[in-house]
Every structure is written in structure tokens, then in C-alpha cells.
């Protein structure tokens, strides 16, 4: 009798000890550092506090092709780190069963500062964004019920969900929050340009690059604003309508006539790595982009007024301006981010 009682007392101790091992929630906070040259973040960190294990789980999910209907197309399939998480060499994305989407894959970097996602701003919360590619029939064509079943049967997911979240549940909420934690942590802030802006060592720009920065400030920052190089607005920058797709852009979301053919002003960070350019990947080079602004801007009812000032279409750019601009744009390439092992699949 006495030994029994003793056992009963001791037993819970054992249980809690074994619980303490690998399989309990590990609240190791992950700091989100805001570089001094960045604007304040927009992400709600209180609703989804970043932890080391949440990040780890998110990374595993990001690179797991088993979430897709064909077992192959992961988020990382289209978003490749070496190309600033874009799909190198593809104008339009292509996913499961070679289904072709209607848009070019944008980069994943500094998403915690954005107010909306996708070229048309279809969603405003980073944690919910993955629902779009995950369920899209021409991207991952995924099914939550199947994905959850797969993860519940997988030993490493069983463990990761337990250590990443206090309630340890393998469900859509935790899956999305983990992906959100991983993506919001993908920061690019250490290009030569950033170091120049923060007066850090290694932050020297050549004379040509500095001149390019001056041209950029004069002609581009009205839309590509702040050191993140976007004002998060939607605008029509005068691209000829691609009739094969007839992508109406922001109009799809708002159904407001003024938003027809308006697209989100993209960040230009790591731009030298993200060709092809624009929402449909129509331009293969930065030269082509600059030629568009200089001579290719098409007038239309919704063309942004900044691109038709003084009865003139587009932005006046001399050949020297273009060379200097491109030299400048190459300074925002951040090798540290492009090669950071913390973000890579292997």
C-alpha cells in the first residue's frame, strides 16, 4: 500500500520528466531586428510570436513538396533562394502537372513591412497568404485535409508541431503560422547599398553608382519609396496590355474602374537577381525595363499621373542615366541573404 502511494507520487514526476525531453513546446523567442534604414514593420508579431522552432517548422513546410497534389511542387520550387526567392528563367509560374499561372513569381524578402501581398493585393495578412498558392490548382493544388493527415503520420512533423506551438496541434492554423514565421524572418538588409545608408564598413558606392542613386531619387522614388523601394501602393506603370492574359490587376480585388491594370509597386531589392521583370515577366533585362519607362509607356485611362507629367509620357532617361541607374540597382544585391543557410533548403 505504501509503496503504491509512493509510486503514484513518483510516477507523475517521471511523466513530466520524459515530457521535458524533445517533445514539449520550446519557447525560444526569435528576435525580429528592424534595420535602422528601414521603415517600421507592419506585421502583427503579438498574434504570432516568432520562435526558433516555429521558424524551423515553417522552413520545413516551405520546402516540402508533399504538401502539393503531385508530391513535388513546394513553395521553394517556385521561390528559389539564389534568385531572391523567385523562379529564375520563368516568365509565368508553373506548378503541378505543368499548369501555367498568369503571373511571374515575385521575391520573398522583408515581407513584414508590406501591407498586402500578391501583385493585386489579394490578401492583406502574410499568415493567410500561403492559402492562395497551396490551394491554387495550377500551383500546388493542395488539400488541407490530406496535408494534415500526411503530417500527422510523419514523425518529424509530430515532433516539430509539438515543440513549435504551445497547443502542439497539427492543424491549418499552426501550419499557416509557421509558414508566416519563416517568411517574415527572411530579411534582406545587408547589401552594399544598406551599408552605405547606415555608414557601415563595406558601404562605399562608386561615383557611377552614386550618380545612379541620384537619378533614382529624382525619378523613381515617388513610387519605389524608402530603402525598401516600394510605397506599397497599386499603380499602372504604363505596360501595354498583354492580351493573351488580360490581367486587370488590382481591379480584380476592388472592382473599381480606377484600379484597372494597376499592380503593386514591387520592392526593387535584389533586382539584379530577379529577372524576368513585371507581373507577367515580360522584360528579360533591366535595360528593357528602363527602355520601357523612357520610351515604352502606354497612355490609358488609368496610367499613373506621375508617368504623364507635362504632356509627356514616361520618364525622361538619357543613356548615361540608364547606365548609372543599373549600376546603382546592382548595389542592392544582398549576397548574405541570397546565401544565408538559415533560409536554405539544405
Amino acid at each position: 500500500m505504501k509503496t503504491k502511494q509512493l509510486l503514484l507520487l513518483i510516477l507523475p514526476l517521471f511523466v513530466s520528466c520524459s515530457n521535458d525531453s524533445d517533445d514539449t513546446y520550446q519557447n525560444i523567442p526569435l528576435e525580429f531586428k528592424v534595420p535602422s534604414n528601414f521603415p517600421p514593420p507592419t506585421y502583427n508579431f503579438a498574434a504570432n510570436p516568432l520562435t526558433e522552432k516555429g521558424f524551423e517548422l515553417g522552413k520545413k513546410l516551405f520546402y516540402d513538396g508533399r504538401l502539393a497534389s503531385d508530391g513535388i511542387v513546394s513553395c521553394g520550387f517556385c521561390h528559389e533562394q539564389a534568385n531572391a526567392f523567385t523562379h529564375h528563367g520563368h516568365t509565368l509560374s508553373h506548378g503541378v502537372g505543368n499548369g501555367v499561372g498568369t503571373r511571374n513569381t515575385p521575391s520573398i524578402q522583408n515581407l513584414g513591412y508590406q501591407t498586402s501581398f500578391m501583385y493585386d493585393g489579394a490578401t492583406t495578412h502574410l499568415d493567410l497568404q500561403p492559402i492562395i498558392p497551396f490551394t491554387n490548382p495550377v500551383e500546388m493544388n493542395g488539400d488541407f485535409t490530406k496535408a494534415i493527415t500526411m503530417m500527422k503520420a510523419d514523425a518529424s512533423y509530430q515532433k516539430l508541431f509539438k515543440i513549435a506551438f504551445a497547443n502542439g496541434q497539427i492543424n491549418a492554423e499552426n501550419m499557416l503560422k509557421a509558414l508566416g514565421q519563416f517568411m517574415v524572418s527572411i530579411t534582406s538588409s545587408n547589401s552594399r547599398f544598406d551599408k552605405y545608408r547606415r555608414h557601415e564598413t563595406g558601404g562605399t558606392l562608386t561615383e557611377t553608382e552614386l550618380k545612379g542613386f541620384a537619378v533614382f531619387n529624382a525619378k523613381c522614388t515617388s513610387c519605389h519609396a524608402t530603402d525598401l523601394m516600394t510605397d506599397n501602393s497599386f499603380r499602372n506603370n504604363g505596360l501595354a496590355v498583354n492580351q493573351a492574359i488580360n490581367d486587370v490587376g488590382r481591379y480584380k480585388v476592388t472592382l473599381l474602374a480606377v484600379d484597372k491594370y494597376a499592380f503593386k509597386v514591387p520592392s526593387l531589392r535584389n533586382i539584379a537577381k530577379t529577372a524576368p521583370y513585371m507581373h507577367d515577366g515580360r522584360f528579360g533585362t533591366l535595360e528593357a525595363v528602363l527602355n520601357h519607362y523612357a520610351t515604352g509607356v502606354e497612355n490609358s485611362a488609368t496610367l499613373d499621373p506621375l508617368l504623364k507629367q507635362n504632356q509627356k509620357l514616361g520618364i525622361a532617361l538619357s543613356e548615361t542615366d540608364k547606365i548609372q541607374l543599373i549600376a546603382f540597382l546592382e548595389t542592392v544585391t544582398d549576397t548574405e541573404y541570397l546565401t544565408n543557410k538559415r533560409f536554405s533548403e539544405y
Binding site: H125, D127, E173, T254, L255
Partner: protein, 266 residues
Amino acid sequence: MKNALHKAIAILAVSALVISCSKDDNEVITGTGNLGIEFDNAFGTNDLILNTQANTTSNNEVLKISNIKYIISNIVLTKEDGTIFTYPKSESYFIIDEADPTSVVAELENVPAGNYTKVKFGIGVDQAQWELGATGQGDLATRAQAAGMLWSWSAGYKFVVFEGTFTSATVTDSTPFMVHTGQTATDYNYTEVTLDLPTKAMVRTTISPEIHVVSDVSKIIDGTYKIKLSDNNMGGMGAMIMGGTNLPLITANLNGMFTVAHVHND
């Protein structure tokens, strides 16, 4: 005198009984119980029959309905003394689907015992939840995708899905219609309704009342605001109402869609 004493004793005894009885009553109302809210879809005064039954609106459009589904959320119960019980938000999401008989009762658990006189619920997913992102959604995305209620292209939810075919004086061939409500860039399209219960729902550890709600789905397009499907038949491809100025009107119509027919207390 003796008689009077007897009487007094008798009165005392009876009143003691009464007091203890009412005391007992009070004591019974402790603990928690279950409560069901059944959503019984109807079209006007008729029961709703999917696919085959023709239903006529006040605009003389004839509808055959193939799908009616909606998300119920944010359930709040009011007791007879005015106290309020808010069902845990993340557990309050129910997808009601006429085609799935197992889905039409929202089963609430751990409801404090008491006599309830009012029920309030939302149709859709509210803005506060939206702004929190995935936090608090539990397995909602999974259930919604399985039920076809995920508004995938915008990572949101369809709040109401109302689909079928229709004919009218101007549209003589049977033509599809689809009404989907949900958040758009211009309107949130979430709404809440409060219903008085005709008799109290007496939740006890031993009694699980069921509130029988009749949902008159004709009201979706034929309520305070009358929306003609024929006017929305774009290029003859069908009436697709999934955005634009009609959605807030449809959302307003939802307020008149629900009534409580009766409450079972057993």
C-alpha cells in the same frame, strides 16, 4: 388555539417546503451542459428541397437550388437575468451545409447551466479575426476547403454560398446562378443576427436544449433588398454575384433570414 397553532405549524412547514423547493431549484442550475442550434433551411414557407423543387421569388424568378451553405460564428447566449455567455470564438465556427445532414446542427459544449432567452450569431468570419491572420482559426481552413467554402484566390472564406439554376420572363432557358458572399476590398460583408427565443432554452447538466432556427434562404435575394438574377446574367453565362454593390445588400438581407421556430428542452 390548538387549531391555530396547528395551522401556524402547517403554514411554516409548507413555506419551509416552498423555500427549500425553490432553493433546490437554484441549486440544480449549476455545472455545464450542451446546447444545439439547428439550422433548418426553408424557401418562404416551404421546406427547402435541393435540386428538384422549383421555388418562385416575388420577382417571378423560378429557382432550383443545388447548394446552400453558410459559416456561423461568434455565438453569444443571453440568460434570463441578462448575463451573457460568449462561446469560445475559435470553437464557434460552424459550416452549415444543407446537403450534409450532419452539419446542420451547431453543437455547443460546456455551456453554463441556465435559462437562456436570446441567441446571437455571426454569418461569416469577422474582421477582427481576419486581422489576426491564422491565429485562432484552428482547423477552419481545413473544414472550409473540404466544404468548398474557402475563397482561395484571396485567402479568405466564402460566408454564404447559394447556387442553382433559374428561369424568368426574360431568361427562359434554365441558367446557372451563383451567389457567394465574403470579404471584398470595398465591403466586409460579415453580419450578426440576434434572435429572441419563444421559450427559454434550459441548459442543465442533464438537459441539452435544441434551438430550432428556420433559415428562409429566399431572403438572400428576396428580402429587404430585391436582387433579380436576370439582371446579373452576364452575357447569358449565368448570374454570378460574388462581388460588387450587390454583396452588401445581400449581407443586409441575411438579417431577415433567420427566425426561431421553437426550442426543445430535453
